[in-house]
């Protein structure tokens, strides 16, 4: 009985040692690139580019749409606000001014006043606080 147990211990010991050795010696040559950060990715913290209100909703101003065009007109003098007040990009401001000019020539839009039916329309921008002091560069 005794001899049997002893023989078992002797027989088990070297096997166990060899097993642990296998587990320790991990092959170092096979390096996986999963943990290296991708340096070529886009800046994840980049802010969204601001868009003017007409580009945002994809609106093309039309000379027949007087209700929209009159929102860019001063209620006091009928003057067209510049892009430093309206906050439009250069292209949209040019389109709006050209369409207003067409509407006024065609006799569908007032030029010396904002028509009273449009006075209470919601305001697209604050005419009292321009973005820049003037409409030039």
């Amino acid at each position: 009985m005794f001899s049997y147990v002893k023989a078992l211990q002797y027989s088990q010991l070297p096997i166990n040692i060899s097993r642990t050795w296998i587990s320790i010696t991990r092959p170092l040559t096979s390096t996986s690139n999963n943990d290296i950060p991708n340096f070529d990715m886009e800046n994840p913290f980049e802010k969204e580019k601001p868009k003017c209100i007409l580009c945002k909703y994809d609106i093309t101003p039309d000379y027949k749409n007087v209700k929209l065009l009159s929102q860019f007109q001063s209620p006091y003098t009928g003057r067209i606000y510049g892009k430093h007040i309206t906050g439009l990009c250069t292209e949209k401001q040019r389109q709006v001014e050209w369409e207003i000019s067409k509407a006024q020539r065609a006799g569908i839009m007032a030029s010396y006043l904002k028509e009273p039916c449009f006075i209470k329309d919601p305001k697209l921008f604050d005419s009292e606080n321009p973005i820049r002091p003037h409409r030039f560069e």
Partner: protein
């Protein structure tokens, strides 16, 4: 083929008269080689400003919109013919065009002036007016003699 829009303002008329005038307007278009794509009634209302034509001052008008195709050479004739029509207060012909899509450039325009492209162009334009400066061509970055 260019599509035109004719914005036309008629004086206030009774219905048969208006029908006559509309027919006459359309007939003029056909006679000049045009075809009508669409005719829209934009209503009768107060004009935003009074308009005097043919010696009468009008405050109200009936608005009509013709969308038509016509040879470009016929446009001056059409305008001339409509101008002589005493039922027409005002007529304007505009080209119908869809502007090509452009990205919004607002983010560039909101930058401080020295970063804006238009300002940089202005500065470059101003630099062209500078007087030419004499170059010594000594290959040195300083003046070797006593000044």
């Amino acid at each position: 083929m260019i599509t035109y829009e004719l914005m036309i303002l008629f004086r206030l008329m009774s219905k048969p008269e208006l029908v006559n005038t509309l027919k006459r307007t359309a007939q003029t278009l056909y006679n000049r080689g045009g075809i009508i794509r669409k005719l829209e009634n934009l209503g009768t209302r107060d004009m935003p400003f009074k308009i005097s034509s043919h010696g009468v001052v009008y405050n109200k008008a009936s608005y009509y919109l013709f969308i038509f195709n016509s040879p470009p050479a016929s446009i001056p004739d059409l305008l001339d013919e409509y101008e002589r029509d005493i039922d027409i207060i005002r007529r304007k012909i505009f080209k119908q065009e869809t502007p090509e899509f452009k990205e919004c450039t607002l983010h560039e325009e909101l930058q401080p002036p020295p970063y804006r492209k238009s300002v940089q162009e202005l500065i470059a334009q101003a630099r062209k007016l500078d007087k030419p400066k004499f170059k010594y061509n000594t290959g040195l970055d300083y003046y070797p003699f006593q000044k």
